[in-house]
């Protein structure tokens, strides 16, 4: 196959830069594989490695420092058949560390070529995550204080199934690259090279020294057996092919008349675990069965089964503009946690507000009408109090009718839960607490 090098834009690295060898080796590898330019995208980011995409007649995507792997993932997921080659420097590996870890863990079929020359060539030779502590670089003494990163060990522990470490001066570099590109999964080659423009101005580094250093390091030669697994895109498509299309929620038809005219606001004050939000849903759905407009706002802490849980519902025959609640028609007080968080509500109420209060729950002084009820005595578990209170409210013909409540429950629940919910609301009695 023909070379994919862009003859109009030959590599323009500093004289003696090992990147040029890598560019040529990559071209050789792609040609040996018989790939045409349209089957390949080179994704690069910032630094001298970021020049790579311009040297090739392939698809190209050049972006921000350290982010090449993110663009590459999006492209590969959208175009699974494309060969995605990512070039990054040791600088990009540092700033894009999270993306490297994610790529290793994910195992999407990308090939990452790390052009590791132990410093930031483009900005003046500052230290990178791979700069040796004893090196003299553009960051004065700072690199002496930080331990360099072994990219290959990191990649292995992060789950990369193919990790190779080699010199950019290897004669069989094209084969090395080809193997990585052919690998069905995430592959990475940590290619050690020389930056004559910056690094070797003050540090001695030759192909021979690189070979000696590599020999002194743990070898990485490709496949990491313990990390071999299904390629991400393949796996994703496999799982997804079994999924059924989801339809948008069906509309609920208006079949009933609401028991009261005008806008009605209900506040359910409970604690986490009392199924407050579900009861709010049911109340809203009951509104829909009467053709009312509804809004529902919930307020709860991030903790599960602890802290307040509040649902604020508005039902109205008119469009609901302001969705805040200032003068509720009904407050259901189920737990002190919820009451405490909305205690400012109680002082402003008059007798037109009905408070359904469960026995044992203290509320602030108020002019509202209070309806006390002992749901415990009626045999209700604490997590059923909210729904039972809606039944009480409906029995009183406040806000919703009992028919609306029943219809809502049939919309929200199915099967056994439906049966027990219907049973539950039928059991709730208006019996006032003595």
């Amino acid at each position: 196959m023909d070379s994919l090098l862009n003859t109009g834009r030959p590599p323009v690295f500093c004289p003696g830069c090992s990147h040029e060898r890598v560019a040529k080796a990559l071209d050789k590898a792609l040609s040996n594989m018989g790939l045409t330019g349209d089957k390949v995208v080179i994704v690069s980011d910032i630094g001298c490695s970021g020049l790579f995409d311009t040297f090739f007649n392939t698809h190209a995507f050049h972006g921000l420092h350290g982010r090449a792997l993110t663009y590459a993932a999006g492209i590969k997921l959208a175009k699974p058949d494309l060969n995605v080659i990512v070039t990054m420097g040791d600088g990009g590996i540092g700033i894009g560390g999270a993306h490297l870890l994610a790529a290793c863990r994910r195992n999407l079929n990308l090939t990452l070529l790390i052009l590791n020359n132990f410093n930031f060539g483009m900005t003046g030779g500052q230290f990178s995550v791979t700069t040796p502590q004893e090196a003299q670089v553009g960051s004065a003494f700072l690199n002496r204080l930080e331990k360099p990163l072994d990219v290959c060990s990191l990649a292995r522990s992060a789950g990369a199934p193919y990790v190779s470490r080699c010199s950019s001066y290897r004669n069989d570099l094209p084969d090395e690259i080809e193997q990585a590109v052919r690998f069905e999964g995430f592959s990475l080659i940590d290619m050690w090279g020389i930056c004559p423009g910056r690094y070797t101005k003050r540090n001695k580094l030759t192909p021979q020294i690189i070979d000696e250093s590599l020999a002194g390091n743990e070898p990485f030669t490709g496949v990491i057996k313990e990390n071999l697994r299904k390629e991400y895109g393949l796996h994703y498509r496999e799982i997804v092919s079994g999924l059924k299309k989801v339809s948008p929620p069906a509309g609920i038809n208006a079949e009933y008349a609401p028991p009261e005219p005008g806008r009605r606001e209900v506040v359910i004050l409970g604690s986490a675990g009392q199924r407050i939000i579900t009861s709010g849903d049911i109340l809203c759905t009951a509104g829909l069965t009467a053709g009312l407009k509804v809004t529902q706002k919930n307020d709860y802490n991030i903790t599960v089964l602890r802290g307040p849980s509040i649902s604020e519902i508005i039902l109205s025959p008119e469009d609901i503009g302001f969705s805040g609640i200032e003068k509720p028609s009904v407050i259901i007080a189920l737990a002190h946690e919820g009451v405490d968080r909305r205690k400012y509500l109680f002082g402003n109420l008059d007798e037109n507000t009905l408070i359904i209060r469960i026995k044992g729950i203290d509320i602030p002084d108020t002019q509202a009408t209070v309806f006390d009820i002992d749901l415990k005595e009626q045999g209700f578990k604490i997590q059923d109090w909210a729904l039972a209170s809606l039944a009480v409210m409906a029995r009183l013909n406040k806000v919703i009718s009992f028919d609306m409540l029943n219809a809502a429950i049939k919309h929200v629940f199915k099967d056994k839960i439906l049966e027990s919910a219907l049973n539950l609301v039928n059991r709730a009695e208006l019996k006032k607490r003595d």
């Binding site: 959208a78 994610a102 999924l243």
Partner: protein, 372 residues
């Protein structure tokens, strides 16, 4: 009549699917997470991809890659995540990558209050990029808007090849609301214009056009994309004439079209002295005040802006023409107030803002107007 119950975030997700969105990537953050949750259920079975990124930078990066490979893409976050998007937003602007970004605003600054609403990112969405070139920002008022404006956002992203923001707010995003899905006025779907030229230059614009034609990365024709300052061919350039032409085009392609997508609702009363200008969730309280004052025989006019950027200057001037006084209400310390003052230098422009996690109420508006 038949109604659905949905929160704003769910409506954004369904609106995205209806627009042809087939790629979503996001990082969990309250109050935007339920967009991701919903899309994870509905996009993969529709043949698309939904990803959870390792962070926000990655999430938007996946979207940029996928968009350039031809998929309509969206990401969603809140203020802290928007901060991390910044470098990639600049990329999408400068390199003309279609993308919808949902910012479900929460009370800031910084991590602020995750479950309290605000409209505190209104200037941040516009200016949170390097270079300062224009973006498009649409602001929904309710659940129906969340659906429909998301569709418009995709259309505008495709048409102008730029990032388009949905400026949502926790108070809309996580408030469930009834709406009639059959009553939605959905726009026709617009797709990016695909080139059929034999010799393709990724950033070349045809005579009389301001937006380049598109070909996906991965197709038969080679495509270059770059975050560097580039010429028509997608290679870096130092030619200041080319650069200047390019920067001006990026500005003009949005600014010159501003009048064609000035989404709004207006209720102008002839005998009204005062015009209320507002947007987002605050518009709901303002509408209640408008209704009430009209009933009481003390009418005020109301302009609800649903396109915030580019600022619909002509619309605002037209609607304010007969008003002596303009009052701006917003859930921040006066971010859009400055724009209105700039556009209406001859009017008395007043402002009331609130940034404590609570809604601006109809009563507050009425009191501020002095009509109480």
């Amino acid at each position: 009549m038949s109604s659905c119950l949905m929160e704003g975030n769910e409506a954004v997700a369904w609106g995205a699917l209806a627009s042809g969105c087939r790629f979503f990537a996001g990082y969990p953050i309250t109050p935007a997470t339920t967009i991701f949750n919903t899309l994870l259920k509905i996009i993969p079975p529709a043949g698309g991809i939904c990803m959870q990124g390792e962070d926000e930078i990655a999430s938007i990066g996946y979207c940029l890659g996928a968009s350039m490979a031809g998929l309509k893409s969206m990401t969603a976050t809140s203020g802290p995540g928007l901060s991390l998007y910044s470098e990639q937003i600049s990329f999408a602007i400068g390199s003309e990558i279609p993308l919808v970004i949902v910012d479900v605003q929460r009370l800031g600054p910084s991590t602020g209050s995750a479950t309290r609403g605000a409209d505190g990112d209104v200037q941040f969405m516009r200016w949170g990029n390097s270079g300062g070139l224009p973006v498009i920002v649409l602001a929904p008022v309710d659940v129906a808007d969340c659906f429909v404006l998301t569709m418009h956002a995709f259309n505008l992203a495709e048409e102008f090849r730029c990032p388009v923001f949905i400026a949502s707010n926790k108070e809309i995003a996580m408030t469930k609301e009834s709406f009639d899905p059959d009553a939605l006025i959905k726009p026709a779907i617009i797709d990016r214009i695909v080139s059929n030229e034999e010799k393709f230059f990724p950033f070349e614009v045809k005579e009389g056009c301001l937006v380049p034609q598109f070909l996906p990365i991965g197709g038969k024709t080679l495509v270059r994309q770059t975050s560097s300052t580039h010429g028509d061919d997608g290679y870096i350039t130092t030619d200041y004439n080319v650069i200047s032409r390019f920067q001006n085009r990026l500005k003009n392609k949005i600014d010159s079209a501003a009048g064609s997508f000035a989404f709004h609702e207006s209720f102008i009363e002839e005998e009204a002295d005062t015009l209320i200008i507002t947007y987002g969730v605050t518009a709901r309280a303002a509408k209640a005040v408008y209704d009430e004052q009209k009933k009481l025989g003390r009418p005020v006019s109301l302009l609800i802006l649903k396109t915030l950027w580019p600022v619909p200057e002509k619309l605002i001037r037209d609607k304010a023409e007969t008003a002596n006084r303009v009052f701006v209400f917003e859930m921040n310390m006066g971010q859009y107030y400055g724009e209105i003052r700039r556009i209406l230098p001859d009017k008395k422009v007043e402002f009331l803002g609130r940034m404590d996690g609570r809604l601006i109420s109809p009563r507050q508006i009425t009191e501020a107007l002095g009509n109480g």
